[in-house]
Subunit: 286 residues, 2 copies
DNA sequence: AATAAAAATAGACTAACGGTATAAAGGTGA
DNA sequence: TCACCTTTATACCGTTAGTCTATTTTTATT
């Protein structure tokens, strides 16, 4: 990453989380990053594009940490889900991201708007799929609405905590509490067959789930080629691409490389999404 | 209400819900209301003050409709709660208020910020107290966190609905669904004694609940005196104030007047809050 | 090493914003 | 007629996001 660009991102990041997005002017960013306006607009087409780059990198960090938390654990362990939930809460708290998320969720800027819808959909889709992991296939028809349950409950409990207490939010207690409530309610819901969304699915879910490992291999290869030769990640990604395309992919090797990648915090957004998809489809490999 | 002021409010209202608060300029409002800048600043000290006036009147309308929905029904009927929940959802949908709420919830403007915190607290406090109405005193320690449950769940289901379906949101089905899920989960929660907030309460709860009927009477009288003589509401409010201050208040009469007031859609915010408090304390009267 | 092409940079500039100030015009009741 | 208040129009201020252009720096090529 270009150092000037990184300077700008760092300064914008600090300002956005401390002063809020709308209240931070481009001039503030320029002063903070000690660059001029021309430099800023050389790297970002607009203020909102700068914000999106920041959000993208945060999303990437969350995906990466969540993968790291799941490595070597069984997918149906509710405590792993609670831990993964906790990862986002803690990161959001540490970096004061709530205002940031919400200020763009209801933005009028159409680019920001569609970006945030995509981010939101990804998160809901992720929670849904983890709910199916934990509670089994019979929970699938109820997964999406319970993702809403989890996400909404967490959000409101955080809001309320700030009004009722001056102490730091016990994020670990919060996430395990919500998962406990989820376990209690989802069992009853399945028994009662009480559904709101019915068969409705998120539009992106279909397309994202349909990507097979065979299709992923060339995409991964394509991504790897853009990296510099001396980058370790390039080697790993290219090996992974070749192995996925092979007649008989060696599962243990793939798992090993994935684990290494899941613990590398330099992973970019595009790659982290692919890694997650491979991980998801790992069971398909004999 | 002054016609010019009403003109401004109407124009601002239309703009805020269609273009959003931040994207609507004062000039837009002036053009829409066909008034000059001087007139605007004669009635509102700032753009945010104008927004707050709009939010206030919406809040008043919701309180009034919710009271009307509860008149003559028993307070512990879950279907009444579902109906009252539906009232807000429907109004928010009709008037496209979600963007408005969220755009001010995370505002940097300190006045707007504290205003929205107050509005939010009032809503959570209201849901909490209704939960105690419906599920009894044993639900009290869990009321606040289940208010978070209800509010957050509703919010997320609405968000998601817009992503998964092009149809109109079935707001009635949504509210009764959430109340059903609440009934299911809260029983289990009480049995398991699983609490997150514990004894923590919203700070304003204590002060608002402590207002007695005796203290309310002079406040009501004070409010009534500001009204015009020919206003029917003045007569009703003054009668109510006198009756509350009487040695032996006649419950049936008070209830009758409250019912009349609850169905009058001209009621202002300040009065509607008082009416709600009287209604809440009605059981105290012999 | 010299030079040409390309990329990065600084900063002046624009239009629009929220909000203030002021002077003139209009309306109302005594 | 007069005093008083509301409304209007408009000029003005500081600040905003974004554009444009001239200059400097970097890179590639010979």
């Amino acid at each position: 990453m270009n150092p000037k660009k990184q300077q700008i991102l760092n300064a914008a990041y600090d300002l956005f989380i401390n002063k809020g997005y709308n209240s931070s002017s481009i001039q503030d960013i320029l002063d903070g990053a000690k660059v001029s306006k021309g430099t800023f607009y050389n790297y970002f087409g607009s203020k909102s594009e700068c914000l999106m780059a920041i959000m993208e990198s945060i999303g990437s960090e969350i995906r990466q940490r969540r993968m790291a938390a799941a490595v070597g654990m069984s997918a149906n362990d509710p405590e792993v889900l609670a831990e993964q939930l906790y990862i986002r809460i803690k990161l959001n708290l540490e970096k004061n991201l709530f205002a940031l998320y919400e200020s763009i969720f209801y933005s009028q800027d159409p680019e920001l708007k569609s970006f945030s819808v995509k981010q939101y959909s990804l998160e809901m889709e992720w929670i849904s799929s983890r709910i199916v992991d934990v509670f089994g296939k019979e929970a699938a028809p109820y997964a999406l609405e319970n993702a809403a349950f989890v996400h909404g409950y967490v959000q409101q409990l955080i809001h309320l905590w700030r009004l009722v207490s001056v102490d730091n939010l016990p994020a670990d207690k919060l996430s395990s509490f919500v998962i406990r409530r989820l376990q209690a309610t989802i069992a009853l819901q399945i028994a009662a067959k009480d559904t709101f969304f019915g068969n409705l699915k998120l539009p992106l879910a279909a397309s994202a789930d349909d990507v097979t490992l065979e299709e992923l291999a060339p995409l991964l290869e394509q991504y790897a080629q853009k990296l510099k030769d001396q980058d370790n990640i390039k080697q790993l990604a290219q090996f992974l691409a070749a192995e996925l395309a092979a007649e008989t992919p060696r599962k243990a090797l793939i798992e090993s490389v994935l684990t290494t990648l899941a613990n590398d915090n330099r992973i970019e957004s595009e790659l982290s999404i692919m890694i997650e998809q491979i991980w998801k489809h790992l069971a398909d490999i004999a």
